[in-house]
Symmetry: C2
Subunit: 275 residues, 2 copies
């Protein structure tokens, strides 16, 4: 899949690898789930990365892309590359990496929870964890996808930095322990945060209220903590110790589980702010 245009660029200097002759970083992508498909797009769109192969257990999933990249479902037929990116589910990382029969190049997974040691010992190992919520079918600008990098070997860490730069992403050196806490933090922010939106939707819908009314508040809540710490951004009856409003709110909630969540988060806010 090396095109003429790309060959010509071999004679140019790279912005990234100053002092080297330019060469694109060759990548084999493994897996075609949510993260795999978003990485496929991002790698394809980067002028400094060259996707030389896409592997997936089931060929049908990647068949629509065969005009853009050589595809395969044969794990023993992987091409030589500088980087192999495994985007399969956590449980499949170990068996897949064990079955890899490659002689050189770095192998990374993209999981927030799997250890770097879940990759087979016989490989050069690393992690490239994009910390973002990907939605199938919704393209995301990779400048808004922070990438957490880890490698056992310093030389390979540098390669991962170059890949992150080529994707246009902010990147951070994050070890396995930190990465697991980041993944957990992401659950609080994204999964639990979204569930609070759902509760708001549920209780307002029950009174025939248009959810659109609440959307600007959702945006403002997120924007506020881009500039200010969440500690300082906190407001509301829990923080003020406004017992009257809290009591009225609890009375308004029909669902016992909503009441319990309200009470627990109110107590937690008060504990955090020393009330």
């Amino acid at each position: 899949m090396i095109t003429n245009t790309k060959d010509k660029s071999l004679f140019f200097f790279s912005k990234i690898r100053v002092g080297y002759f330019y060469s694109m970083i060759s990548i084999v992508l493994l897996g075609a789930g949510n993260v795999g498909q978003h990485l496929f797009e991002a790698i394809k769109n980067s002028k400094d990365l060259q996707l030389i192969q896409w592997y997936n257990r089931s060929l049908s999933r990647i068949k629509p892309f065969e005009n853009f990249v050589p595809i395969t479902d044969d794990i023993t037929a992987l091409k030589p590359a500088q980087l192999y990116i495994i985007t399969v589910s956590d449980d499949a990382i170990r068996p897949l990496s064990e079955s890899l029969n490659i002689e050189q190049g770095l192998v990374v997974h993209t999981s927030g929870t799997a250890s770097i040691h879940d990759l087979s010992k016989k490989l050069s190992r690393g992690v490239l964890y994009p910390l973002q919520s990907f939605t199938l079918g919704k393209q995301i600008d990779f400048s808004r996808v922070p990438i957490c990098l880890e490698a056992l070997d310093k030389k390979y860490y540098t390669l991962l930095e170059e890949v992150a730069m080529a994707l246009g992403s902010p990147y951070y050196k994050i070890n396995t322990e930190q990465r697991k806490v980041l993944h957990l933090s992401a659950v609080f922010i994204n999964n639990f945060g979204n569930h609070l939106f759902r509760i708001a939707h549920e209780i307002s819908d029950a009174k025939s209220i248009n959810f659109d009314i609440l959307k600007p508040l959702i945006m403002e809540t997120a924007e506020k903590v881009q500039e200010m710490s969440p500690y300082r951004a906190q407001t509301g009856p829990a923080l003020r110790g406004d017992k009257k409003t809290i009591k009225r709110h609890l009375k308004l909630l029909d669902e016992s589980s909503h009441k319990a969540i309200y009470e627990m988060l109110t107590q937690s806010i008060q504990k955090t702010h020393g009330r």
Copy 2:
């Protein structure tokens, strides 16, 4: 405070009041807290609204603005206006409205929780509740401030619509019961949502992780539900029933209150999605 420029506009047709000769809506603002100050700016910047007086119990608070608007701390000295907007705290709405000695014009409060009947019976009463999180010192674009309107008299409801349009805000007809539920929904979204950000900050800070890594995820979480219902936007280990990850997450949490919140929200997600 009628300037010449404004007088001239008397001879133009209004976009808002088609068929009328143009006249600005005259407003007296009462109170100078967070909402009061943001409304002051927004009214001042609207070419269709004329702020003719600002009342506050303590004059010192509004003194800096006396070159823009006549100010007073004398509740018996209010000027005649079409609209009086009360932005004082919930408990102060009733006594303040009782002490109003005005003969005409609509009186509204801006509270999410107070009833329209908290305003004195002798007045023409309404509510103008801006559903947004205001931060002192941070200007907000009122096109992003949905306004919930209520009035006992239809004629006055039309006036409130005109005010909302003049502010450039989306507006909705919302009765007292609905408004209370909206205020409660806002607590789930803004106060509780922000507290989840705080927990994420706390646990990542404890592992020396830069909170910046999580900021794009906060934005994406908010943006996703601008297009998609929170029900459809839900992802994560709770939704998938991924017991292994849930167990690992609980083990990672040191604080018992964080564990309890994690468990309760996980259960609530599973209940919502029929797991």
